[in-house]
Amino acid sequence: MTAIHCRGLAKSFDGTVVLRDFDLVVESGAFVSLLGASGCGKTTALRLVAGLETPDAGRIEVGERVVVDAATGAFIAPEARRIGMVFQSYAVWPHMTVLENVAYPLRVRGVAKAQRESETRRILAVVGLDGLEERKPAQLSGGQQQRVALARGLIMEPDVLLLDEPLSNLDAKLRVRMRRDIRRIQQETGFTVLYVTHDQEEALAISDRLVILEGGEILAQGTPDELRDHPFLASEEASA
């Protein structure tokens, strides 16, 4: 189905190298987490896969398609990649209600209004926002806005879903519940997930595989069991 293959990706901003020799394979239907310190390039990696940035070198395949190749100049526009994304900064539209925000991907696809609404209400119930449909984002708390962003990503049922710290602003209990729901929905619909988080306990609990980034390079990758005793995780645990 839809695996992601990144080969030799490199990206720099104004001469500063942010990502280099980035090789990553996410198998079809897998749930892979990107873990690493703040500023190590996690968001940049997601944005490259999404097509919101273009790599200086390397290529990315999503499913059968080469979505970008720096060598040939091939590029598929972000909206044509069938990739959903939940942004670290939420990116909830201030001029739309909660309902309109979450229903937007369906609206773009031309889904009829009645069906759109029922789908949206269903997914809003999953993230625990039922009853807030008509609110504007300015009337929501940070955690509620984050769940709007998450619902908007989930409703798409894309081939690939990119999640950039989607639970960072929720309390511990809600975080555990939400990550189970994400996992359940993923297993039901079978999309591929690339998940960025700071929280290694979360990463270990939820992922099929973990990738540890440091200073723009991949330090290690493996299953939770393989990496549980990795010094990077251990040192973070110690400092936490």
């Binding site: 526009a77 972000p78 990116a91 539209w93």
Partner: protein, 533 residues
């Protein structure tokens, strides 16, 4: 916050009222006292024609400004069009060119008889002396309001809002329609309103072009009535009330603002124009050509011609500069404008500092009212303000027909520009800094000189130039208030145009442009790019 000097507050309020509010009150009083004359004037066929013409001009100009300003703002912030930096600078340039100079330029370009653009044709193809011509000139002068406002709105909006729409499957145009446009709507409404107001209030360009086209506008009608001797002032005041109310219509429009907090500071993902990249670049280049290079070039070219309209090499000369600037009345006018503008800027900065300080650093009741009152003259059409100033200073303290009334007029009109720049600068100063100086025993003038002034120096300089530039090139109030022997560089140009002396007018316009653009460069450099274009 500390208890502010009561004296200072009343001083500032008194100055603002005398400078800007009393004159306006006198205009209203004159109109109200005119009784029948008021209704007769306001409902006369002339007035209604002028009202209708003003409405057409203001709406047309607003439309042109929106159509030029909004797309170019989007293209230069959100797409991969080449030469973005160049376009951002050049497209803003008309902002600092006084509209009457743009009008002079377009007259040399599209005068049906001798305009450069009409040279290849037997009969005049382009006629600037028409409603369309004037709308064109005003639109090209005022679109930077829209360009700058929309650009600022797009730049302050969190770019991931647009990225999120693309990740939801929306193509570039859909993103514009569903996200970028709604986010920019408040900016479109407010800048469109500003253009409407500025156009309805404008005097210079409408009088230069409208007179020959035989079209009267409210502002030019007021000027004509004003020079009638019998009952002219009452009629002019009546019409002024109408214009004042009219120019303020856009204030009723309030765009709903979305609180857009910038989350991560990431750069917007640029829309790839693909095959449209070259055509878009050419389109923007054309706009730059029409709005900047063509008119400014025409002015400079005309200033270098012996006989207007003749482009043969033997006709080029620089001697006109010496001739025109050597003429004593021009030299005197230039000097008058220079020192008046400098004096006005200095006074406005002093007063503006007081207003801004009271507004930002004290909790006195009435401080926002003070700032609001200080801003009123800026929003008032120049013709109306000048009329009020005349009514006020005709007696008992008589300043009319002296140079001092122009000084008062420039300060009154532009003090809000200085106050605004200073409010920003003062607001950015941490309270602890002056407090520490006070704990060391500093107060009053010493405190100002040693702590405030150095900390807000950039804003003081910016405020000074922001008042200097429009005062130096001011036309409207200067023409109305000018008396015998009282001429500024603006009124000289106006007079020369009447005598059909395009070359001399162009020489002066070139000098004004040089000075304004030079001041602007200094301003930009000193403020680190925060002010100036």
């Amino acid at each position: 916050m500390r208890r502010p000097g009561r004296v200072r507050f009343w001083l500032a309020l008194g100055a603002v009222v005398v400078l800007g509010i009393l004159p306006l009150a006198l205009v209203v009083k004159k109109a109200a006292g005119a009784g029948d004359i008021f209704w007769e004037t306001v409902t006369s066929a002339d007035a209604l024609d002028a009202l209708f013409a003003t409405l057409r001009l203001a709406l047309g100009t607003t439309l042109v400004a929106l159509l030029l300003g909004a797309p170019s703002a989007w293209l230069t912030t959100r797409t991969d069009v080449p030469w973005k930096g160049f376009f951002r600078t050049t497209l803003t340039l008309p902002y600092i060119v006084p509209p009457y100079i743009a009008a002079l330029a377009w007259i040399t370009l599209a005068d049906p008889a001798i305009g450069f653009l009409n040279a290849p044709f037997d009969s005049g193809v382009f006629d600037i002396f028409s409603m369309h011509g004037l709308t064109w000139v005003m639109g090209l002068s005022f679109y930077p309001y829209v360009f700058l406002t929309v650009r600022a709105a797009l730049e302050s909006a969190d770019p991931s809002l647009e990225d999120a729409a693309r990740m939801s499957g929306a193509g570039p145009w859909r993103v514009v329609k569903d996200v970028a446009f709604p986010l920019a709507r408040p900016a479109l409404i407010s800048s469109g309103g500003l253009v409407f107001m500025a156009t309805a209030s404008a005097f210079g360009a409408p009088v230069l072009i409208g007179n020959r086209a035989g079209i009267d506008f409210l502002s030019t009608r007021i000027f004509d009535l004003w020079s009638d001797d019998l009952g002219g002032i009452a009629r002019a005041s009546s019409l002024s009330c109408l214009l004042f109310a009219f120019a303020l219509i856009p204030m009723l429009l309030r765009g709903r603002h979305h609180a857009v907090l910038t989350g991560q500071a990431s750069q917007p993902t640029l829309v790839r124009l693909g095959r449209a990249r070259r055509p878009v670049q050419v389109g923007l280049l054309l706009l730059v050509l029409l709005a900047v290079f063509l008119p400014l070039g025409a002015i400079a070219l005309t200033a270098c011609l012996r006989v207007a309209g003749d482009l043969s090499p033997s006709n080029f000369t620089l001697s006109k500069f010496a001739d025109v600037l050597g003429a004593s009345e021009n030299g005197r006018a230039l000097w008058t404008s220079l020192w008046l503008a400098a004096a006005a800027a200095t006074i406005a900065v002093a007063l503006g500092f007081l207003i801004a300080w009271l507004q930002v650093k004290t909790r006195r009741r009435g401080r926002h009212l003070l700032a609001g009152l200080a801003a009123l003259p800026l929003a008032t059409p120049g013709t109306v303000l000048a009329l009020g100033l005349f009514l006020l200073w005709v007696g008992p303290v008589r300043l009319v027909y002296t140079v001092w009334i122009l000084l008062v007029a420039y300060v009154a009109k532009h003090m809000a520009l200085a106050a605004r720049a200073l409010a920003e600068g003062i607001g950015a100063v941490d309270d602890a800094l002056p407090d520490a100086a006070r704990m060391s025993g500093a107060k009053g003038w010493f405190l100002f000189r040693t702590v405030w002034a150095p900390l807000v120096l950039p804003s003081i300089v910016a405020g000074w130039f922001l008042v200097f530039m429009p005062s130096f090139s001011e036309l409207t109030m200067s023409v109305i208030l000018m008396g015998p022997d009282l001429e500024t560089i603006g009124t000289r140009m106006y007079v020369m145009r009447e005598y059909k002396s395009p070359t001399s007018a162009s020489v002066l316009a070139t000098v004004v442009l040089g000075l304004v653009i030079g001041s602007n460069l200094i301003l930009r450099k000193l403020s680190g790019g925060r002010y100036g274009v």
